[in-house]
Subunit: 136 residues, 2 copies
Amino acid sequence: MKKTAQYSTRQRRVIEQYIASMGDSHFTVDSLCAALLQKGEMVGRTTVYRCVERLKNEGKLRKYMQNAGESACYQYINGGHCQEHFHLKCENCGDLIHMDCHDMTNLAEHIKSHHGFAINPLKTVLYGVCERCRTK
Amino acid sequence: MKKTAQYSTRQRRVIEQYIASMGDSHFTVDSLCAALLQKGEMVGRTTVYRCVERLKNEGKLRKYMQNAGESACYQYINGGHCQEHFHLKCENCGDLIHMDCHDMTNLAEHIKSHHGFAINPLKTVLYGVCERCRTK
DNA sequence: TTGCGTGCAAAGGTTTTGCATGGCA
DNA sequence: TGCCATGCAAAACCTTTGCACGCAA
């Protein structure tokens, strides 16, 4: 949790506004750049990288990696809502599923008390195959 | 599950033998190259990449990513033993913990039957902080 | 005016690919 | 002999860094 931004620039406002408007769907630096461009907002790629990095450090964005060579995925942390639940990502269609499950929360507690390991839900992504892809 | 190797070359034998000897500890392409070099075995980096990629496709290696910019981690799947349990990775010390936990297996069942999502334990890594780092 | 923010260009790192050569069957 | 495997060099990516200029406060 580093210090927050000091200056409010056009680039920051545009990026933060767009990210917040996306709800909890995930995005990459690439898709973010493309979306901004489509809106006619010119923001340098470097700035986008620096901005999401800072937002991550401020606890406003989750960041996770799926595969080598691919770009990192980011997701807006909507007022702490997504801090409580876990995320499932389909290896087939790439869909990100938000799972509010009491059993999962209980398990995290169990792992902490019995295995001594404190799971970080912000960093953790459970991979597998979603229902739609399984029954297809 | 693609077709298996057709030719048995020195490079493949050396790599597969070394990987199998490592048990279930994790390694990167870099550390593998260094280890082979130390043994006096010359194996090109490209060959190592191609070899672990094929072993992964054959289901003999797990592959996972932690952070952008870092290299991918691999782990030998020891006769199916590691297919049954889950892996915890400490974000602080990098330690990979093998967790055989019935509750976790039950949870995976629950998620499959109630949420329709089939978790892939080979791909999934739970991130967090291990006991040693927490109490330090 | 001060100093953080921006963005271009270049560097840094991992992984993949083209291609000629080598080696197993 | 046929064809896969190897490895060098180069390319392809994603991401970070250096540096001069821009701009908020």
